[in-house]
Amino acid sequence: MMKETRTILSTTNLTVGYKDKKGEKPVLTNLNLSLEKGKLTCLLGTNGAGKSTLMRTIGGIQKPLKGEVFMQAKPIRSIDAKSLSKQLSLVLTDRISPGNLTVYALVSLGRFPYTSWLGTLSQEDKDIIFMAMEATGILEFANKHIGELSDGERQKVMIARTLAQNTEVIFLDEPTAHLDLPNRMEIFHLLRELAVKGDKAILLTTHELDMALANADHLWLINQNQSIDSGLPEDLVLNGLLEEAFQRDQLQFDYELGTFKRTSTQSKTKVRLEGDVILKRWTKSALERAGYEVTPDASDLEIKISGTLKTPLWHLNYNDTTYKTIQELLIQLNNQ
């Protein structure tokens, strides 16, 4: 299949930002981006980098300062609200809690653009609502009230509402912001599945690097030059653009772990570790936090890790003692 046909939303020389009496305040400039069907795209950026502004602009809520947004090759500003609502649906960060609204009623609001003046649901509408609730796994809550749901369940209901709206493009602003790790993973998994199986173009904003790296088919990375680097997550890691985008003093990207960590300029005691890879990884993490530098070179301080994953043992070279926890080991090191 040709690449052109997969692209559903694109921008040309787009500049987004705000206008006030003092003039224009561009947040992101000269963006040439495209969103493809069947892919989960993550818009990644630090707080205040302009994630929401960009999403509002390409979603047609806010006017661009320069350039153009195209939906199916049509300028988005020329599409009326009702037609647009059949092509693009949103999940916003606003915490909605109409206590008396049931899950079913909220999801059925997604049919708004399709129903008659009174909003009466046809059998087709009801079938689509049923499918949307089934796909997001919320059928069992159908008659619960929104106020009774957990944050994770509520987010799924909001996603079900966009499915009921039956659009090819779905935008989600920080969909995992208040969720714990299992819920975050579940939402990302769900969105990927919807993108692939439903052949939808899904764009979500996040500042959770690990989630984006693990789940995105495509990354839009807001860099420090008010622009966006676009590409496969792994490519952006390996060409160093990801590290550049999040560059801060005392922050360093760990290419092995795929996360950032603090660096310290103080001189550190060097330690050499020996043993199983996994046990070494966690011991290293604890030692680095405590201010030691783990080095592969020979050192005065050597720790041999033995035992297995559930029952590890640490042996310290200079006093020839074995410890059962890293805590005990660190106490000995600090007393030295």
């Binding site: 809520i61 609200a81 909605i96 109409p98 079913y104 003046w117 909003g119």
Partner: protein
């Protein structure tokens, strides 16, 4: 999914029950008062049959029937005004009186009563008949619309609903202050008329005026029902509503216009009646446990009518010659209802 159709049946039953309650209270309201008339005689008279006591017949047809109908119209109109304001501002304490709509209507009425001199005192307005009633309705609706437009204009700048409510209260205060200054420079007789009007009365509407009032309120109720789908979309907030294809600006104007017509007309004829507009939407939501405006609109109209009839019966103090101002009774009954709902449900805020 079966539970959903079950819920529908339950709602239909509730509406029928409320309708029956309304009819019973309507007959009681006509029967009770300074002179007690048996309900059977009331029914006979309303069905157009002659009854033995022609005095009763006169009381029923000339005084009590218009008053009871006015009570139902006022209750329905104010409740629907409150429902729309609460949904639009997504605030449980919003209502026509809180956001200054009633104050605006008062300003309109004050302008007619105080400024135009003796020609337009309440007495002479009643003498003017239908033309005069239109004058009062137009003045109070324009007053209500003026304040609402002001609030609407400010609400474009402010997105926070609590702040918006405070702004509404301040605008109401300014409006009341303007009326006070106006009163200060007016004749005592004119002020007396105006103050009597502020006590609220369901009995001041004559049969001819009732026709005008009924047309306006029924139109407003129908318009509100037409806005059900729009109001449902607004439950999720304006951004979501817009993303679902709703023209939010137009919707705001339509809702505010409908509310001004409903609240403005009732305030013009019956005086500023408080609390019904806030309490009834909560009662209805609590009663039916739904946020769907297609159900809430008819329910609010019915519950509003029922509550106003109860207030009217109490304000007549059955068996005595005393008539209390209805505005005081609605507050006496309405406030405990609001407190009771807050205490019982503890999730009043979660409605929005």
């Amino acid at each position: 999914m079966n539970a959903i159709t079950q819920g529908k049946r339950l709602r239909a039953k509730s509406l029928i029950l409320l309708g029956l309650m309304l009819i019973v209270l309507f007959l009681l309201d006509i029967g009770l008062g300074s002179v007690r008339i048996p309900v059977s005689e009331v029914v006979k008279t309303l069905l157009g049959q002659q009854i033995d006591n022609s005095g009763w017949q006169g009381i029923i047809l000339k005084i009590r029937l218009p008053r009871a109908v006015t009570a139902i119209l006022a209750g329905a109109a104010l409740s629907l005004g409150g429902l729309q304001m609460q949904t639009l501002f997504r605030n449980p304490l919003a209502g026509p009186s809180v956001l200054g709509i009633t104050a605006g209507a008062s300003l309109g009425v004050a302008a007619v009563m105080l400024a135009a001199g003796t020609v337009t005192t309440t007495f002479s307005i009643r003498e003017l008949g239908v033309d005069g009633s239109w004058l009062i309705i137009i003045a109070s609706t324009l007053g209500a619309a003026l304040v609402l437009m002001l609030i609407l204009g400010i609400s474009f700048k402010i997105r926070d609903n609590v702040v918006m409510l405070i702004v509404g209260l301040m605008v109401a205060n300014i409006t009341i202050a303007v009326v006070s200054i106006w009163q200060f420079f007016s004749n005592p007789e004119q002020i007396q008329e105006y103050i009597l009007w502020t006590f609220g009365s369901l009995g001041g509407v004559t049969n001819e005026q009732l026709g005008a009032l009924a047309i306006i309120v029924v139109t407003g109720v129908i318009l509100t029902f037409f806005l059900s789908k729009t109001l449902n979309a607004l439950l999720l907030g304006e951004d979501y509503a817009q993303s679902m294809g709703l023209n939010v600006k137009w919707a705001r104007v339509a809702i505010i216009a409908t509310t001004s017509i409903l609240a403005g007309a009732i305030t013009g004829f019956c005086g500023p009646i408080g609390f019904v507009g806030i309490a009834v939407p909560h009662l209805s939501r609590s009663f039916l446990n739904t946020s769907d405006h297609r159900t809430l609109v008819p329910t609010c109209a019915l519950v509003g009518g029922i509550l106003m009839l109860v207030c009217d019966i109490i304000s007549q103090v059955p068996g005595s010659q005393t008539v209390l101002p209805v505005n005081a009774i609605t507050a006496l009954i309405g406030s405990p209802i609001v407190i009771w709902i807050i205490v019982k449900r503890k999730n009043l805020k979660a409605s929005f």
